[in-house]
Amino acid sequence: MSSKLLEVKGLSKAFLGIKANDDVQLSIHAGEVHGLIGPNGAGKTTAISLLSGELRPDSGQVFMDGKDITNLSAWRRIHMGLARSYQISRIFPDMTLLQNVQVSLQIAHGHSFRFVAPAFGSHGDEALAMLAKLGLEDRAHDLASSLAHGLRRELELAVILARKPRMLLLDEPMAGMGKTESIRITQLLEQLRGQVTMLLVEHDMDVVFQLADRISVLVQGHVVATGTPEDIAKNPQVRAAYLGGEDHDG
């Protein structure tokens, strides 16, 4: 297809001797939506955290634009354009929606060792425009903690997108969402297709098979298959993992 934006070679991570990721191989092409699926406990969130830099691998390497970023800390990786969302949305609860986005824009504009000018005086219009994109502008001045689960996810996306990432790591964006909310997020991700490369970890198979250009399957910390949705649906190993291998994780 096209060039590799993110490449993962032999990534392993163990917790107390239990291998969460075991020799993971992934390559994500620029512009694609790459689904990452697997049974519960397969190590999908660990993989995301290894890619975002919040966890350090025991072995293996991560490359972005061909550059080794394995030892780059999380806060530096986003400066290269690598952003993530969390399974339980992370936002700043005691700030308004607008302020949440303003903080993100402030960070995008360089360091914050500035002590005099009031911070929330700037980036207001830009932040409001970002909220409008997600249909949140009516609640711009509400506290983020007042948002229901689904809207929190949308706010988190607004905060991340304000950083103008090139690559999004999405950790179960549909988790706990209602049907309509799920459809709205799916449409949003559809709109972002092509502009932002995405690694989509998701349990909702309908969503993954609808959005993903390619899918990788993670089973017990190991990538057992990568291919187009059609290939994956037909893959006997994947079927075995989903039908026969799930009974042990409750």
Partner: protein, 323 residues
């Protein structure tokens, strides 16, 4: 606007204190207000850490004590005309407040930088314990220095010399402390609303999110920690002048605990909470100690009542009353 009116009222009241004290014929009240202003400054800096940066430091008295020792040590060497032994250059100290006070700030700032660099790698209870441990280390270190009074501390025969002011005049001394307190509060207020302050507050709300948005959280926290330490040092330098003394007791963990008690009494959600807590604590201590030497026995239940019923301390109580 309401807040502005309240702040103006407090400043006017603060300015009027010596005159009110004179009017009621009790000049000691001015000295008590001086103590309140000094502790208010230290507790406000702790409130900046706890309430805004989300860092519960249990060693704040160490920085306060360093400030006090800076004044005492500079005085001692000046009066003996002896060079300060641990400096790489020969200097016989100074009596000038324009030297002593900034140096107290700088020394505490630098020590806080060191303590912060190590303790800010931990979170929660571990952070509380490590800051406590550093403060106790310094406490025992000062006890082990016989040249600087050891356990007995150092007496100061001459207060700092500040141009235009006579610190032996209770009014002058009060106005110096009050002026510096107002200055510190305005400075902290400006910082809290600045880009730096927003990062500090965001870090206390969700550190992981801030990091994955591209912020090296540690550096920001370290500077906030050092700044609060420096302000506590300045406050300690004023206290040394007031008591004409500096000793290891100023750094004892119970003093750090006392500062946290004042902060809880006053409320952590606002900058003025620390000052309100210091006023309330010192005021209660003064009144209760007049009745009984077991005043802490009464203060304890009051503290528990505040925690249980006036969540957000004195300031929280008032702001709820208004809304």
């Amino acid at each position: 606007m309401n807040k502005l009116a309240l702040a103006s009222l407090m400043i006017l009241l603060g300015l009027a204190v010596p005159h009110l004290a004179e009017a009621v014929g009790d000049p000691f009240l001015t000295t008590m207000a001086t103590r309140m202003a000094i502790m208010g400054m230290a507790v406000a800096s702790l409130g900046f850490l706890v309430g805004f940066a989300g860092l519960v430091s249990f060693g704040h008295a160490a920085f306060f004590g360093i400030g006090a020792y800076v004044v005492a040590i500079l005085f001692k060497h000046h009066s003996e005309a002896s060079p300060i032994p641990f400096l790489p250059f020969a200097w016989e100290g100074s009596l000038s407040g324009m030297v002593q006070l900034p140096l107290a700030f700088i020394a505490s700032f630098l020590f806080a930088l060191l303590v912060g660099a190590l303790s800010l790698r931990t979170r929660g209870v571990f952070f509380i314990m490590i800051t406590l441990a550093f403060a106790q280390m310094l406490y025992h270190f000062m006890i082990s220095l016989p040249d600087y009074g050891g356990e007995d501390g150092l007496s100061i025969w001459e207060r700092s010399q500040v141009p235009g002011l006579d610190l032996y005049n209770d009014y002058d001394f009060y106005y110096l402390c009050f002026g510096l307190l107002v200055g510190v509060l305005l400075l902290l207020r400006m910082i809290i609303h600045s880009s730096f302050g927003v990062i500090i507050r965001a870090a206390s709300q969700d550190e992981a999110r801030l990091a994955t948005l591209g912020v090296p959280v540690f550096r920001y926290r370290l500077l906030a920690f050092a700044l609060a330490g420096g302000i506590a040092g300045l406050s300690g330098a004023l206290a040394a002048n007031l008591y004409e003394f500096s000793g290891p007791g100023l750094m004892h963990w119970s003093r750090s605990g006392e500062m946290l008690v004042m902060l809880i009494l006053g409320g952590m959600g606002s900058l003025f909470g620390g000052v309100a807590g210091a006023i309330m604590f010192i005021g209660l201590e003064e009144i209760l100690a007049g009745w009984t030497e077991h005043w802490a026995l009464i203060l304890g239940p009051i503290l528990i009542m505040v925690v249980l019923f006036a969540h957000g301390g004195l300031m929280g109580f008032f702001s709820r009353g208004r809304s």
